[in-house]
């Protein structure tokens, strides 16, 4: 049973400007009593999540919408445990997989096969486990002989196939996916959708941030909007999508 609970979670995100990241300016600030280089210490804190509470159980497929910078990625990273909350409690039960940015963890000089092993091990698999996933990944990505070539020769669509295949290869119980289907061709999008339907059908938790309303409508049972650090349920999301299909 997978479980993901947020209780009054707030995340504040410090933004450091060039001056705040300069050691010289920090020394100046101390030496001058903070009068001359007053700007140096200023870091702007953005409240990305403000007192958010929710409970996700097995079988939940959640969509996240919101403007650029509304905090969708921050929320996904907080769910994954990459960012730590400033206040509130988070309970995670289940193996988490993240498919957030294309290309993370891949070494462009190494072949597709070597990168499968690398990424598998970065995700916490043993070498043996990672090796055992290769046939399935070969089949799913349909990359064929390209898997023996260095990843730098891949198109962005191809590296995305590889990323997605590895990211979802170990049957995660909680799958967190950020907008990343822009680059796949139609055939792959269908396959990815089918695999996500499988994962959802296996009664696990799925959270998907996207601007693609059609995709959200077909994969997610509930959709939330993130705005000013708050999460609002959009009960009539599916109705609206049917009325005016957006791209």
């Amino acid at each position: 049973m997978a479980h993901l609970v947020f209780e009054n979670v707030s995340v504040r995100y410090p933004i450091y400007n060039a001056r705040a990241q300069s050691l010289r300016h920090q020394f100046m600030r101390i030496a001058t009593g903070g009068k001359i280089a007053a700007e140096a210490g200023q870091t702007v804190a953005v409240t990305a999540l403000d007192d958010v509470s929710f409970e996700l159980k097995s079988g939940d497929a959640i969509g996240l919408v919101g403007h650029n910078g509304a905090g969708k990625s921050t929320l996904l990273r907080t769910m994954a445990g990459i960012y730590t909350q400033d206040s509130g409690r988070i309970l995670r039960e289940g193996r988490i997989a993240t498919v957030l940015e294309i290309g993370s963890g891949m070494d462009p000089e190494l072949s597709g096969y070597e990168n499968i092993l690398r990424m598998g091990m970065l995700m916490g698999m043993s070498l043996k486990e990672a090796r055992s996933k290769i046939p399935e990944i070969e089949e799913f990505t349909e990359l064929g002989d390209f898997l023996s070539l260095p990843v730098r020769t891949y198109s962005s669509g191809m590296s995305m196939r590889l990323m997605f295949a590895v990211g979802t290869s170990f049957q995660p119980e909680i799958l967190l996916v950020d907008e990343m289907f822009g680059t796949g061709d139609a055939g792959f999008q269908e396959k990815a959708k089918a695999r996500m339907h499988d994962l959802i059908a296996n009664a696990e938790i799925f959270v998907f941030a996207s601007h693609d309303h059609v995709m959200l409508g077909s994969l997610c049972s509930r959709v939330y909007e993130l705005k000013h650090g708050k999460m609002n349920h959009l009960p009539d999301f599916h109705v609206k999508t049917l009325e005016q299909p957006e791209s």
Partner: protein, 263 residues
């Protein structure tokens, strides 16, 4: 026991549990670097051999020194310096370079310094071949104290490990750290007994012992060449391990969760 410290502890233990993965990845990093070359990682060995051979002959002639004492001294010194300077310099990129990984996968942060130190140990193992060759040509005059090279080397690795994490965190927060380090390393090179022995400086030798890296070179090289280190080298190296780790763990504990925001 606060929950913060418990989380820090589980970060460290989880990272130590991933030691096989760190080893595999650092080996695959090493391979990737020399992917499109014929000799592969043995370029490291060859490069070191050329450097040591050239410098050894030029300098021993220039300084009118006995080749049989100078060349082993220089070889071990240069290779150790390469190991130390490699870890210290690259640590300023420790978290910055892995930013994409840190922001996208949940990997214990303690994993990164482990991986960096392992990769440099792999490099050092390749370079050690040159030491073996030099020792075959100029056999050192070993006595019972030579075994001290093992605890000495362990102390050096323990020291460089906390330095890596410390510098990595500091450089992620303050970006000019990297420039500062690259500018200070040449100075520290001339302050360390790579090209000479500290005793040769006579009264001025105290200046060498201001440099922490001098202890690392002395504690490994002296037993390896059949000398004994000055007796104060051991307590200083052990003290550095204790104080350094205490300071680094305190900083890691209080600032660990900030690292993903800094990078």
């Amino acid at each position: 026991m606060s929950s913060r410290w418990q989380q820090t502890r589980s970060d460290i233990f989880e990272a130590l549990g991933r030691l096989p993965a760190a080893l595999f990845l650092s080996w695959s990093d090493t391979k990737a670097r020399y992917k499109r070359s014929m000799l592969g990682p043995f370029w490291l060995t060859l490069g070191t051999a050329i450097g040591v051979g050239g410098l050894g002959f030029v300098w021993s002639t220039l300084f009118k020194m006995d080749k049989a004492t100078f060349i082993p001294l220089l070889t071990v010194g240069l290779i150790l310096w390469g190991f130390i300077a490699g870890i210290v310099t690259e640590s300023s990129q420790l978290f910055i370079q892995n930013a994409q990984l840190i922001r996208n996968l949940r990997i214990p942060l303690f994993f990164y310094p482990i991986k960096l130190v392992l990769r440099h140990l792999i490099n050092l193992a390749h370079n050690a071949i040159v030491i073996v060759i030099v020792f075959l040509i100029y056999p050192p005059d070993w006595h019972w104290g030579a075994w001290l090279v093992i605890p000495g080397f362990i102390l050096v690795v323990l020291n460089l490990s906390w330095m890596s994490l410390f510098i990595g965190m500091f450089a992620a927060r303050y970006r000019d750290t990297e420039t500062a380090i690259t500018n200070f390393m040449p100075l520290l090179f001339f302050m360390s007994p790579v090209l000479f022995k500290a005793e040769q400086l006579g009264v001025g030798s105290w200046i060498v012992w201001l440099n922490p890296f001098s202890y690392f070179i002395s504690i490994v090289r002296d037993p390896l060449l059949g000398h004994s280190s000055p007796e104060f080298v051991w307590p200083v190296a052990i003290g550095m391990v204790l104080v350094g780790w205490a300071l680094t763990l305190w900083m890691f504990n209080s600032r660990r969760t900030r690292i993903p925001y800094w990078i």
